[in-house]
């Protein structure tokens, strides 16, 4: 069972206090988008074996959403950061590079 540290309230807690919210950094596509864009936005997921960026909500705590960088094979957590960003901050990317040289996810690396 995972442990995560909520970057919003600083509490480190077990999985049962959080709610997983799926892939992070999705760009919302509204009425002006075409079918492909909307389809990808709603259904296409990275589902990688390895480094992944995902959303969590500290549902039994401060109630805030945040992001986590995690390895889906080893479950190692590289770091967590607030959700109010469109891409992972530099220090998170560096933390991943230190552990997984040459990693890539979508366009990122």
């Amino acid at each position: 069972m995972l442990i995560l540290t909520c970057p919003c309230c600083g509490v480190t807690a077990e999985e049962t206090e959080f709610h997983g919210g799926g892939e992070a950094h999705l760009t919302r596509h509204g009425p002006d988008s075409d079918d492909d864009q909307f389809h990808d936005y709603l259904f296409m997921r990275e589902n990688p074996r390895g480094v992944h960026f995902e959303r969590w909500r500290h549902v039994y705590g401060c109630g805030k959403w945040f992001h986590a960088a995690r390895d889906t094979v080893t479950l190692e957590v590289f770091g967590t950061y607030p959700a109010q960003t469109t891409e992972p901050p530099q220090h998170i990317r560096e933390a991943i590079s230190a552990r997984r040289p040459g990693w890539s996810w979508r366009g990122l690396s």
């Binding site: 995972l2 079918d35 990688p48 074996r49 995690r70």
Partner: protein
């Protein structure tokens, strides 16, 4: 293939069973096959079997990176039912269930299909209406089910507490010909039958790449060299996204861990399969005597074949509440498998952007019961380019918003 029978056993007993031949050969891969199936799980082997049996296509290789039947085929809770709500689901699952009825004879391997009956409990008024709706749909789909009273539930499953303080049982959707089967034997039986048709079941052969030319599939690259093929079927639950990427397309699904557990074996006390969706638990008793229990999925991508223990807790407390007598039984073993879950939690049986490459994926938590039906339909799709059993499960349904949503009737599908 030497036939299995009581007589054969008696004959072999006389010579210390030294005459039994291999259930399946382990040949070296050829340079080329008409059809390659990636994944020697139940679905992949069944697909190959029906390619041969129904369409005479036997120049087939089934490539398996590990050991055959080693994925979800050998990790599930062996429940077989077809009491689904939507027409496409009911069609393929009922086809599957009916094939299970005769599978032991078809494959000459006893897969121990046990049509002991499956009941889905209704524990809220909303569930009552949902299951009644399913019963009406099933009647028109040719699936035999009925909505039964709490008293009948108690008759069929005496160990159940039908008036618990929290969620009294208000009835159940009952499918008398649903049941269970011996999961490993299903994979072994298909492998043996495929091998007998001259197909190549090749274990410890990992596909590392998929080769194409002018938008057409050419073959695969494997840990045992390049192998060519005219048609390629990808049937690799738990790795679907990964392998699809090799073929150059993406899938609208995610992989999560699903857990199950068994108790120590006890004498027979439960003759039916019970699923309780409101409290999230389902249970049956294996022929060996173990209570076989299904848990929930983790809420995040996971390839570990392990799950978090709190899901086991949630399931077990639900079942202790529903079956108070199990409280002093003990959990013998828990395990996990990786399931691929799509946007509408229904499978994908479809052509792909790569010509002559087909995908069978996304069975989520309900794959085992679908093995023969899925193989039957997918084989037809691969051989003929169309199968009515696969209608509705196309890859592009998500783009059009044309979903096959079963969660409508059941909170959880297994």
């Amino acid at each position: 293939m030497k036939r299995y029978s009581a007589f054969a056993i008696a004959r072999e007993a006389m010579r210390h069973h030294e005459g039994w031949e291999r259930a399946w050969a382990s040949p070296e891969p050829k340079r080329k096959y008409d059809v390659i199936i990636i994944g020697a799980g139940g679905h992949g082997l069944a697909t190959a079997y029906y390619l041969g049996k129904n369409f005479g296509i036997t120049n087939v290789a089934i490539l398996e990176k590990g050991w055959l039947g080693g994925g979800n085929t050998g990790r599930n809770t062996t429940i077989i039912r077809s009491n689904y709500l939507q027409d496409p689901s009911a069609a393929i699952f009922e086809k599957s269930r009916s094939l299970y009825e005769t599978m032991s004879q078809d494959l000459n391997m006893n897969v121990m299909f046990s049509p002991r009956g499956v009941m889905m409990l209704a524990q809220t008024e909303h569930e009552v209406r949902g299951w009644k709706r399913t019963a009406h749909a099933n009647a028109l789909q040719g699936v035999t089910t009925e909505f039964i009273s709490p008293r009948r539930v108690k008759e069929l499953c005496p160990i159940m507490n039908i008036d618990g303080p929290r969620y009294p049982v208000l009835g159940a959707l009952w499918q008398p010909r649903g049941g269970t089967a011996r999961h490993d034997a299903v994979a072994w039986g298909y492998a043996r039958a495929c091998s007998a048709m001259g197909m190549h079941v090749i274990q410890k052969c990992e596909v590392t790449g998929i080769r194409s030319e002018g938008g057409k599939v050419r073959g695969v690259t494997t840990s045992r060299g390049d192998i060519d093929c005219d048609k390629l079927g990808i049937v690799v639950a738990g790795n679907s996204g990964h392998v699809a990427n090799m073929a150059g397309f993406r899938l609208p699904l995610e992989s999560v861990a699903l857990q199950a557990l068994v108790s120590e074996p006890i004498k027979p006390c439960m003759d039916v399969v019970v699923m309780a969706n409101t409290v999230h638990g389902y249970m049956s008793q294996s022929d060996k005597g173990e209570m076989v229990i299904g848990g929930g999925t983790d809420g995040y991508n996971n390839y570990t074949q392990r799950g978090a223990f709190h899901h086991i807790e949630e399931t077990v407390r639900a079942l202790v509440e529903t079956f108070p007598m199990i409280s002093r039984l003990k959990m013998l073993r828990q395990w996990g498998g990786i399931v691929d879950v799509t946007g509408d939690r229904s499978p994908i049986l479809s052509k792909t952007p790569l010509e002559n490459c087909f995908i069978n994926a996304g069975w989520g938590t309900g794959g085992f019961k679908a093995i023969p039906g899925s193989g039957w339909g997918f084989a037809e799709l691969m051989a003929r380019g169309h199968s009515t059993l696969c209608d509705g499960f196309e890859l592009d349904r998500f783009r059009e918003g044309r979903f096959v949503d079963e969660s409508v009737a059941a909170g959880v599908a297994h």
